[in-house]
Amino acid sequence: MNCESCGKHPATVHFTQIINNKKTLQNLCKACAEKRGFAGHVSPAAKGFGVENLVSKIANEYEEENNAVACGSCGLKYIEFKQSGRLGCGECYSAFEARLDDLLRKIHGSSHHIGKIPKDLEPAISENRQVETLRKEMRRAIEKEDFERAAYLRDQIKQREVKE
C-alpha cells in the first residue's frame, strides 16, 4: 500500500485516531507522517542503522523536488508560493493541485467548491454535480446492501453520462 498523502512512498506508519467516537485510519509514509508530527516509535536498534538519517534525507529531497515545481503558465515556482502565500495565476491551482489540496483542507476544511458557478459554465457543471451526488448515494446504497436502489442509481448515472 502506498502513502495516502503523497501516493509515492510505501505506507509504513498507520495512525488511528478516534474523535467523537469516529475512527479514522491514516496510512502514511515515514516522511508524510513526520510532516504531520506523528513521530512514531522507532526502536533504538533501527536508529543504529541510520534509518532516521536516510528517511530525513529522502524527505528533504522530496521537499526540494516539490519546491522546484513551476506553473507552466506563469512560471511561478512552488517555493515562491510557499514564501509569499500567493499564487501567480489561475493555472497555478492545477499546476500545484496535489500540494494545494492538503493545504486547502487545512484552511477551509474542504478542497471542493460547491458554491456559485459563472452563468456560462453553469449547465455543464451543475450536471456534473448531480452525477456526483448520485454516485455518493449509490455508494451509500451498496454499503446498506440495498442493491435494488444501487442498480437504479447506476442506471441513472449511466443515462446522464450518455447524454454528455
Binding site: 511561478l76 495565476c89 456559485k116
Partner: protein
C-alpha cells in the same frame, strides 16, 4: 472623477441607521474576490499587464446596468488624503490605499456597491448595507457579479471555484462581515469568552477597519473564514445564526447591567453625553469610546434626542481625513482634536431631535 466635496457632506448610505437590529448591528458587508481568466494575478503581473487589466475592467464596468450612477477613480492619481477618505468610509481597504501599482475604484453614488480594481485580486466587489441585511447585500452583489461575468471571463475551476491570488479566498471568494456593537458584553467582561466561542466555529473577529486593525468603540467585525466547501447561502446562514445568538447574549448582559448597576450605567452614558456636547478637545479614540456609551444610551432609551443615523454619520465625519476635508485644510493631529470637538458639538446641536415627552412613570 469623485466629487469629494459632495461625498463629504453626503452621509454613507450604509450608516443611515436603518434595517433590522440597527441599534446593535451597524452594517452588513459582503465582498467577492474575482480574477480575469488568462491574466496573471496582480502581484505577479508586469506593470503593463496590470494597466491593461485596469482598463479592461473600467470599460466593462461602464457597460453594466447596475453601475450607471457611479464615481470612478484612478486611485494612484488621487491625493493621499482623498484615498484616506475612502478608507474611512470603508469603500477601499488600507492595503489598496498603500499599493503602488495601477488601480482603480468604481463606487455607486449611494456607496452601497464599491469595486476595487487590482487589489490583491483583479476585482474585489463589495456591497455594504445598513443594519442586519446580509441577504439584501448578497442580492445586490450577486447582480453586479453576474453583469460583470457576462462580459468578462472570470478565472474559475469546477473543483476549486473562483480562483484567487491567496488560497484563503478561493471557492466562493466571498467574505461576509457584520459590524456589531457589544458594549454590555465588554462591560461585564464576558466578551473574551464569547469571541473565543465564535472563533472556534470558524468565524473570525476583527477591528473596525478590518484585518489587523484594533477594536474601537466596542465595535467588532465578525466574518467567515472558510470560502471553500460551503455555498454562499450556507455561509450567510451560519453568520446569521451566530449574530442572532450574539444579539441575545448582548441583550442579556445589558439586562444584567441595568438590574445590578443601573446608576453606574446611566452615569457612564450621561457623562459621555456631557463630554461630547461640551469638550473642546477630542482625540479620535476618545470619541469612539464615548460614542459607544452614547450608542448604548440610545439603544436602551436613556438618550432620546439623538438618533442612530446622526451618531453613525458623526462617527465617519470625525475621522482624520474627513475632518481635514470638511474644514478644507490639512492639519496636525493636535489641531484636529480641537476641530473634532467643534464638529461633534455642532453636529449634535444641528441634528438634535425634540426629546419625546417622558412618561410619568419614568
Amino acid at each position: 472623477m469623485i466629487d469629494f466635496e459632495k461625498l463629504i457632506v453626503h452621509p454613507s448610505g450604509w450608516l443611515d441607521g436603518t434595517g433590522p437590529e440597527a441599534n446593535m448591528i451597524l452594517s452588513s458587508r459582503l465582498r467577492l474576490a474575482r480574477n480575469i481568466k488568462g491574466h496573471a494575478f496582480v502581484h505577479h503581473a508586469k506593470p503593463e499587464a496590470v494597466s491593461e487589466t485596469y482598463q479592461q475592467i473600467m470599460n466593462t464596468a461602464a457597460e453594466c446596468p447596475s453601475l450607471k450612477r457611479v464615481f470612478t477613480a484612478d486611485v494612484g492619481e488621487m491625493a493621499p488624503l482623498d484615498r484616506r477618505l475612502l478608507v474611512e468610509r470603508h469603500l477601499i481597504s488600507p492595503d489598496f490605499e498603500r499599493a503602488q501599482w495601477k488601480r482603480g475604484a468604481v463606487i455607486t453614488e449611494d456607496e452601497k456597491i464599491a469595486i476595487m480594481i487590482n487589489e490583491e485580486d483583479h476585482l474585489r466587489l463589495q456591497s455594504i448595507v445598513s443594519g442586519f441585511q446580509m441577504e439584501e447585500g448578497w442580492e445586490a452583489l450577486n447582480k453586479v457579479d453576474n453583469e460583470l461575468s457576462a462580459r468578462l471571463h472570470f478565472a474559475f475551476s469546477e473543483k476549486y471555484g473562483y480562483l484567487t491570488a491567496c488560497p484563503t479566498n478561493v471557492g466562493t471568494g466571498m467574505r461576509v462581515s457584520v459590524l456589531i456593537h457589544l458594549p454590555a458584553l465588554v462591560l461585564t467582561k464576558a466578551i473574551d469568552e464569547t469571541l473565543k466561542g465564535i472563533t472556534q466555529i470558524g468565524l473570525s473577529v476583527r477591528g473596525f477597519y478590518g484585518e489587523g486593525t484594533e477594536v474601537l468603540g466596542n465595535l467588532f467585525q465578525i466574518s467567515n473564514y472558510a470560502t471553500l466547501g460551503k455555498t454562499e447561502h450556507e455561509v450567510i446562514e451560519t453568520i446569521r445564526k451566530v449574530m442572532l445568538q450574539l444579539i441575545g447574549f448582548e441583550s442579556r448582559a445589558c439586562e444584567t447591567l441595568l438590574k445590578e448597576a443601573k446608576t453606574q450605567i446611566e452615569d457612564k452614558i450621561w457623562r459621555a453625553y456631557g463630554i461630547l456636547n461640551n469638550a473642546r478637545l477630542l482625540t479620535s479614540n476618545e470619541f469612539m469610546s464615548l460614542s459607544s456609551a452614547l450608542r448604548l444610551g440610545i439603544s436602551i432609551g436613556i438618550i432620546n434626542n439623538i438618533d442612530l443615523k446622526s451618531l453613525n454619520q458623526l462617527m465617519i465625519l470625525v475621522q482624520p481625513a474627513h475632518i481635514q476635508k470638511y474644514l478644507k485644510h490639512e492639519m496636525e493631529s493636535s489641531e484636529r482634536d480641537f476641530f473634532r470637538a467643534n464638529v461633534v458639538r455642532e453636529h449634535l446641536i444641528k441634528t438634535r431631535k425634540k426629546a419625546s415627552p417622558r412618561r410619568k412613570d419614568d
